[in-house]
Each structure stands twice: as C-alpha cells, then as structure tokens.
C-alpha cells in the first residue's frame, strides 16, 4: 500500500491501463473462440479443436495468420483515412474500458479511472468509434464498403437514440451518472426489475450498435461482401475485428453495470468475489449475443429502420417518461 501511495499518479494509471488492456484483449481472444465453439455446437459441428486442447490456442493461431497476411490498399482509396480508420475504431473500443469499474474492494474500485460521469464518457467514446467504420467505408473507394458505411451511419444514429433513452431511465432512478454509483444504487434491487422495458430496449439496440447479427447490415457478408471492411486485409482487418468484439464486451459490461447490479452478488451469495459475478453476468450477455446470431436471420434494411424509429424510440421515450413521473411522485 505504501509503495502504491508513494508512486506518482501517472505510473499507477499506466500500470492499471496495462493490466486492463491485457485482460480485455485476452477476453476478446477467448470470447472469439467461445463464439466459434458455441456457434459450432448449435450448428452440430465440433468447432475449432485442432490447436491445443479444445482449440484453446486457436486465437494465437489466428493472430499469427493475421500478422502474416498481406496488407492491401486499393488504388482508389484515400490512403491516410484508409490507414487511420481501423485505429479510430480500435482506440475508441479500447478507450471505453478506461472508465468501466469491474469490481470493488476496500482499496477502491477495480478499474483504470473512476469518472463521475462514466456512462456519458462511454457513450461519447463509443460514438466516436462510428467514425472508424464510416471513414473506413468511405475511404476504401469502392461500392460495397461505401454502402456499408452509409448503412452504418444511419443505423448508428437511429439506434443510439433509443439506446440512450433506455439508459436514462436507469440514471433517473439511480440519481447519478457515475457507474460505481449506479452499481451501489442496485444494492437492494437490480434495475432490471423496475427497468425491464429499458433493459429489453437496451439489449436490442446494443446488438445494433455493435453491428452484430441480426442487425449486421453494415457488414452483411451475403449482400455487401463484408461491408465497410471489404477492402481491408491482414492486420488492419484484424483491428476492426478486435474493435467489434471489444465493443461487444463493452456493451455487455454496461448492461451488467446498469441493469444486472454490476458486481453485486445475487441472493446474498456474497462469499463469491464481486469480480466473479461481474464476469459471469457479462459472459451471460456475450453468450446471449452468440445465441442471437445463430438463431435469427438478418433483418431487411427498411424493417431495421422502421423498428428503430417506430417501435424502439417511442417505447423508450414512453419508458423514460413513466420512470420520470414515478420517480417524481415517489421521490
């Protein structure tokens, strides 16, 4: 403890960031394997099982493969933007983890930074991440990526509205925008109960925000040949891939923090450390994402837009108004 308090703040922040980055990137690697395994099982296949026991070394093999692939740039591409876009995506995806608290002990929060407006910071950072996708598609200089990025922009705007609306209900009840504060406010009852509508809207919009099936029109393989990342190859494609999975983990973490009580133990099972609960809850979300992907076919684009604007947004707004009214009346 003495050593810690004597160290300069930037050193502590650096070490914390390194640990969180390591954990998060490892989580990405294995959530990818987890996804491939679960999808395979649901499709009656064994999944990756050649590299190490149960395919445990598959992420390493994939990483090596990505590293050694050729990095192509189309002639028609805008070179600077084309090369920058994956980094925008990745940096924004990673940046969100700077403010996510994973657990809590007597020494303080388990996270890089404890920001008093954490949820706003996350939404701000992940919104910038859309630029990565949009610029990637636009700067590729070919048709499919452009279509993908146009879709992405429209989809992000439509669904981010409903997503933010669904989250505000939680903020009203908790009375704070600090993620740790929101978790503390769920000591007695998790917000999934009073905010069940908000929760459902959040998980639907979160799927759309992370461009995953059945809302993956941005990268629809069967119609856009990968969408915004059609032209990308090798490591740059890998960066988009990492960013997508990190975003998935981020929204899983936010859902855990906002609706499932964060690191609070259910049913008074407090002897299990909070971090275990956090990981279990977030893992449940990631499993749900995978399950969703294996089950549902891709939506048609006009239906996606209709659903976003004519169903999700009004319901989210109504939920917000009712929550606000109830909180105002009951105090």
């Amino acid at each position: 403890m003495d050593v810690l308090s004597a160290a300069p703040w930037w050193l502590i922040a650096l070490i914390k960031s390194a640990i969180v980055l390591f954990v998060v990137v490892t989580t990405f690697a294995y959530s990818m394997l987890f996804e491939r395994k679960i999808m395979a099982w649901m499709q009656l296949r064994p999944g990756p099982n050649r590299t190490g026991p149960w395919g445990m070394l598959q992420p390493a093999a994939d990483a090596v493969k990505m590293l050694f692939k050729e990095d192509l740039t189309p002639n028609t591409a805008d070179p600077l933007m084309y090369k920058l876009a994956p980094f925008i995506s990745l940096v924004c995806a990673m940046g969100a983890f700077a403010v996510i608290p994973f657990s809590e002990s007597s020494a303080g929060l388990w996270g890089v930074g404890d920001v008093n407006a954490g949820i706003l910071v996350i939404f701000a950072i992940t919104s910038i991440g859309v630029y990565g996708i949009s610029l990637a598609g636009w700067s590729s200089g070919s048709k499919f990526p452009l279509l993908g990025s146009v879709r992405s922009t429209a989809q992000m705007i439509s669904y981010e509205l409903a997503m933010t609306m669904s989250v505000i209900g939680v903020l009203i009840i908790a009375g704070t925008t600090s993620l740790a504060g929101i978790v503390h406010a769920q000591n007695r009852v998790w917000f999934i109960l009073p905010q069940i509508v908000g929760f459902i809207i959040y998980i639907i919009t979160a799927v759309a925000e992370t461009n995953r099936a059945p809302f993956d029109l941005v990268e629809a393989e069967s119609e856009l040949v990968g969408g915004f990342h059609t032209e990308y190859s090798g490591l740059r494609f890998g960066l988009f891939f990492i960013a997508e999975y990190l975003n998935m983990i981020t929204v899983a973490c936010i859902a855990t923090l906002l609706f499932l009580g964060g690191w609070n133990a259910p049913l008074g099972l407090t002897f299990v450390p909070g971090i275990v609960w956090f990981v279990l809850k977030a893992g449940l979300f990631i499993f749900m994402y995978i399950w969703l992907r294996t089950t549902l076919p891709r939506l048609r684009y006009d239906r996606l837009m209709n659903f976003g604007w004519k169903v999700l947004l009004p319901v989210a707004t109504l939920n917000l108004l009712i929550t606000a009214a109830v909180v105002a009346v009951t105090g």
Partner: protein
C-alpha cells in the same frame, strides 16, 4: 399471431438452437477416428495369385478394355517354359493402373476372367508426386509370401488401419479380419509402423 405470436415464434427459435448445442455431433474426427466401410468398398486395386504362387493375371487386357476411364495399361507376354508366371499361355509383363484416372467403378474386377484384379477397401493413397499414383505390378501384385489375396466375396470387409488408430463407430464389421484379408493391409502395417504405432 400479432405481437404475442411473434414472441412465441422467437422463443421457439431460441429453444431450437439451444437444444442443438447439446445434441451429439455427427462429425467424425477423421485421421484419428475412421468410419466403417461397406464390406465391399471400392478402393485401391490388388492383383491376386493362385495358391501355388502363380499369378492369376493372364494378360488378356479385358480389364483395360472394360475400364471407362482408360486407367489400366496391360502388356501381355508369352510364358517362358522354364519360368512360368501364370498357369495360362500368357501373363502380364506390365500391368499399370493410373489411380488418378481410376474412378473406382469396379468394372475391371467384373471383367476379369480369372478374378486376378480386385478392389481392396484401402482408400488412403495420397502422395506428393503425380507419378506415384501410377501403380505398377510391384505395388499391385500380392507378394508371394503374403498369400493369394482375397476375392471380394470372401472378404469380411472393413477398413485397413494403417494410418493412426481406428475407433469403431459401429461394430457391424470385424476390422481386424478385413484388414488381414488384403495383402496391402499387411504390407502397410509393416511399412508404416511409425504411423500405425
């Protein structure tokens, strides 16, 4: 239908995929686990002998004529009186099958008047050079010490286990018996002990 019907339909879909995750997978981990073949599977050829060690093939070229893929080349020759290779007048001086052309239809087997050419259950013959797929007599003919070879009708069937361990999926056929029934199985057992062990 309506909203509730939609929810029920969604739930059904999710239940289906969830159930599938726990079902037994039909995949067979091929190199380590092998499937059982039909007893008279059409695989690699072999040229049989008579019990006295004489070659059955009389070099009549009927197999080459029957072959729809033109994969067989036979060049017959007269038996020398002091060195009779086959009981008849002639024998196959050269007998070559291009296994890359072969379609494993088994017509050669049916055309053969002396039951000399037969198809064994062996199917793993991958190699690095195209030339290696032209099997001549040195690889087709049952060596004298290996017996006579088995006619398909007498073969219990199964799969030769010369590449890795064979795990029986269904015990309908006796693998060991089927393996021993072809001389190629025996040869490969000795040639590739490294892999078989």
């Amino acid at each position: 239908m309506g909203f509730l019907g939609g929810v029920v339909a969604l739930a059904k879909g999710f239940a289906t995929t969830f159930q599938f995750a726990f079902q037994k997978k039909p995949t067979i981990a091929y190199p380590t686990v092998k499937m059982q073949h039909a007893p008279r599977f059409h695989g690699l050829h072999e040229l049989r002998r008579y019990a006295d060690g004489k070659e059955r093939c009389i070099g009549c070229e009927l197999c080459a004529i029957a072959c729809p893929a033109n994969a067989i080349t036979v060049i017959g020759a007269e038996n020398a009186p002091d060195d009779r290779r086959s009981p008849g007048e002639r024998y196959a001086a050269r007998y070559e099958i291009d296994e890359l052309r072969c379609i494993f239809c088994g017509l050669c087997e049916e055309a053969c008047p002396t039951d000399a050419i037969v198809l064994t259950p062996r199917f793993e013959m991958s190699d690095y050079r195209r030339g290696s797929f032209i099997y001549s007599k040195d690889r087709l003919l049952v060596p004298p010490e290996a017996g006579v070879g088995t006619a398909p009708d007498e073969r219990p069937g199964g799969i030769p286990s010369d590449l890795g361990a064979v795990i029986q999926q269904k015990s309908t056929v006796d693998i060991e018996a089927g393996y021993g029934a072809t001389h190629r199985g025996e040869i490969l057992k000795t040639e590739r002990t490294g892999l078989a062990g």
